[in-house]
Amino acid sequence: SVRGLAAGPETHFGFQTVTEAERREKIYQVFESVAKKYDVMNDSMTLGIHRVWKDILVHKMNPSPGTLLLDVAGGTGDIAFRFINYVRSVRERQLQRKLKHHQNLSWQEISESYKEDKLKSLGDSQVVVCDINKEMLKVGKQKAQHLGYSEGLSWVLGNAEELPFDDDKFDVYTIAFGIRNVTRIDLALQEAYRVLKPGGRFLCLEFSHVSNPLLSRLYDLYSFQVIPVLGEVIAGDWKSYQYLVESIRRFPPQEELKAMIEDAGFFNVDYQNLNSGIVAIHSGFKL
């Protein structure tokens, strides 16, 4: 219809049909509304299991000191903080090993080398948290301050479909529970490819599809009956969590997402199901 053409291409918002512009606006509002209760709700809805999923993602990444990470849709900083912790502990072990080998040095020499390394407790690793939503970034920054994260951490307001970064910049690109909310997934994947260095890795952690029929029914029941209620009781916001569960159903399943990642130019694309497919980690490399 004429109105349709004028308003823009159609897409979905949960189970509703909307234009792309409307979808972006609605999603922005959802995250503006949930930002303050985001972490509490994640813990309640997943009974804390989301923490394990995120730990697994960072372990799979296995970053070494000196890695430059771009965490897109990183909002409240969960992946960024885990990255910093991981790199710090790897760095500590490195330093310990180094010290052991230097046991024949004089006290002065040891303390000097220690001071030098102290300055690089992260070993030049850096993480840039990029999110399109100001409220989510605000919560993330507050959390960082509260938890004492400052070194090697930057916060950038940006759109996954059009990243404010130059080509070939990052070693790793992660997007955890964010790609589902992107309106043009193909563009986000292309941008991911662009900003990664050759040899860089793409990692996506996202809700996916459960193939086991019994589990799928239980999961649906829980999703549609319990989660919006949790949203209303804890966050006073039924509709945002109704959107959440609907958007999960709308998102492409494992194989389809794998194909989309390959289309963007990534090689060696694979995925790992967590909890029978409730969540999946997709991985790809830029060569």
Partner: protein, 251 residues
């Protein structure tokens, strides 16, 4: 009320679960703000809101949700009481709303002391409350009953005025006792029973010996409070209105 679809047919990948979900919940939005819910969701909401209302007394929205999810017997009762009373019937037809945009605050303030209008405005100012903070109903699956619960909420401040009770915990509990007897809403009954939990011993004693017995007696004696067209009675002295309804003078 008119029924209109709140969601278009889902073109979900897993169409089965989407359709099933719609069948369970009745996919029609009956009034603006209506969220259709399944019986299971209502039960979970009732339990969750009851817990949250006790845990965090500032969550007035939870008290509202509790009222909506547990009122399925009391609300039709109230509606019928209104239908069978001339003034109540007119209220159901005309659907007056008490909010800042419909009230002429200047006129009410200018009324003589002791009139309903003047005392109501005084109550709002003293307690720093506004009629516009009442939650609109979301989980009531009948458009007329949604109005009934909305009217009950908007009339609540007038109850405070007629009973002479402030908006502190003690005053609210007393009003809840009165409303529990009057409406039979489980939310009022629960509020009346559990509200006192957070009160000091001295207040509890006052509550038990004087205030609650008076609230119960008044509640029993009085006509249905939803059957009074308050908007036509601003000029009426509070005492005269109390007598007319059947509320005994406050202790």
């Amino acid at each position: 009320g008119r029924a209109c679809l709140s969601r278009t047919e889902p073109r979900a990948r897993d169409g089965r679960s989407g359709e099933e979900e719609e069948e369970e919940e009745g996919c029609y939005q009956l009034y603006p703000g209506h969220i259709p819910t399944s019986p299971l969701q209502k039960a979970l909401l009732a339990a969750g809101s009851a817990f949250m209302a006790l845990y965090d007394p500032y969550r007035h929205d939870m008290v509202a949700v509790l009222g909506e999810t547990t009122g399925c017997l009391a609300l039709p009762n109230l509606r019928d009481k209104m239908k069978h009373h001339p003034e109540g019937y007119r209220i159901l037809q005309e659907r007056p709303r008490i909010r800042l945009s419909t009230l002429d605050m200047a006129r009410l303030q200018a009324l003589p002391d002791g009139t309903l209008g003047r005392e109501y405005v005084r109550f709002l100012e003293d307690n720093k409350v506004s009629p516009d903070t009442r939650m609109p109903p979301k989980f009531v699956d009948d458009e007329e009953l949604a109005y009934v619960i909305q009217r009950y909420r908007e009339v609540h401040d007038l109850m405070h005025t007629l009973l002479g009770m402030p908006t502190n915990m003690l005053g609210e509990v007393v009003v809840k006792w009165f409303e529990a007897v009057q409406t039979g809403l489980p939310m009022c009954i629960l509020g009346a029973a559990f509200g006192p939990v957070r009160l000091s011993a001295r207040k509890l004693q006052l509550l038990a010996t004087e205030l609650v017995p008076w609230a119960i007696r008044s509640g029993r004696n009085a006509n249905c409070i939803l059957n009074v067209y308050y908007e036509e009675r601003w000029e009426q002295p509070v005492e005269s209105l109390r007598e007319e309804i059947g509320i005994f003078p406050p202790p």
